[in-house]
């Protein structure tokens, strides 16, 4: 590699600044220096260029790459679907087809009526079934309610009977002494321990 020089002033570099000086007479042209500098570079590019350039045979190979059709690749038919609006059937007449004759109108009407009747019928059946279910539920709920009520009444009766029996037992007492004792009337109350209040000594 040639040594690199830093040049601050292009014209000043070629001479000392004096017109008739030696250096001014034999100026070193920039081109020569450049040529010298570039020589190794040129050779380098040439060498690399020959290597990097693709050969003609390679280019031809690339160009001849085979293009497969959809049939050859075996792609499923679904991938080929086009929207309904876009697809235009060939051989079919353009425009709308009107229904104005009685026969076709009757056919359409029969189809529509049958469909509607079916729908309404199914609706009715469904409604009836729902109604039956509701009715059954209502009956069940009523039965349950009745049962609960009966149970409640029974319990109430039992409680009443119990009370009556207790009353009957009390009647058996001699002179009603025992019952009076239980009830705790003031006059007949047996005297227990007398309650006392005492103050703590200082």
């Amino acid at each position: 590699m040639a040594p690199t020089r830093t040049v601050k002033n292009k014209h000043a570099a070629n001479g000392s600044g004096i017109r008739n000086s030696k250096s001014a007479k034999n100026p070193q042209t920039d081109s020569v220096i450049k040529a010298k500098k570039n020589q190794p570079n040129k050779s380098h590019i040439a060498a690399t260029g020959l290597k990097g350039r693709p050969k003609i045979s390679e280019i031809l190979k690339k160009r001849k790459q085979r293009v497969y059709s959809a049939k050859e690749l075996g792609i499923p038919e679904l991938n080929k679907i086009t929207p309904v609006g876009v697809e235009k059937p060939k051989g079919k007449k353009k425009g709308k087809t009107f229904v104005d004759d009685r026969e076709s109108m009757t056919t359409i009407l029969a189809l529509v009526t049958a469909e509607k009747e079916g729908q309404i019928e199914s609706k009715m059946i469904k409604a009836r079934q729902m109604e039956e279910i509701r009715e059954a539920r209502r009956v069940e709920a009523e039965a349950k309610d009745q049962e609960r009520k009966a149970k409640f009444d029974e319990t109430k009766d039992q409680v009443r009977k119990k009370r009556k029996r207790e009353k009957g037992v009390r009647d058996d007492d001699v002179n009603g002494f025992k019952s009076a004792m239980e009830e705790g009337t003031r006059a007949m109350k047996p005297k227990g321990k007398k309650k006392k209040v005492s103050f703590a000594a200082e």
Binding site: K96, M105, L109, K116, I120, M124, A127
Partner: protein, 183 residues
Amino acid sequence: MRPLTEPETKVVFDKLANYATDLKTLITPLEDGDRYVFRLNHSRVYYVRLSIANMATSITRDALLSLGTCLGKLTKTGKFRLHITALPILAEHARHKVWVKENGAQPFLYGSNVVKAHVGRWSEDCPEHSGCVVYSMADVPLGFGVTARSTAEARRLDPTGIVVFRQADCGEYLRDEDTLFAG
């Protein structure tokens, strides 16, 4: 003005069948050899005599305002909407009927739904969400709607409960005067 295409005819019949039975009589030939046909003009469907429809061909589309009985409008999405003008045809072949009392007629004609308290009587075995024609107690058709409840369910409903959802009523002749036939 043009006849309906097949899908259009199907949609129209489908809607009519919600409210009316025996639609065959609509297209049966008349005694004088004439018959009724369906015609489309400005997305409105007309039910008209064939002889009148043929005569109307001499009038330009823009100049033709209306002919025969306007049944309704075909929307841009391909659905069909019945107008109140179709009421005479529906009332003639009504599948289910609801009669409203005197006190219920006015609220209905002003555009509200039919509540149970206003119902005088109704046809039996009517499932929910099916088309029905609303009559006054004097058998004058007032409009049509869709049942909110089946007859059995409606019996258990409270008086303020909605029985019929209004679809169209005769009050529209005044309320929608500007848009009913054009626009």
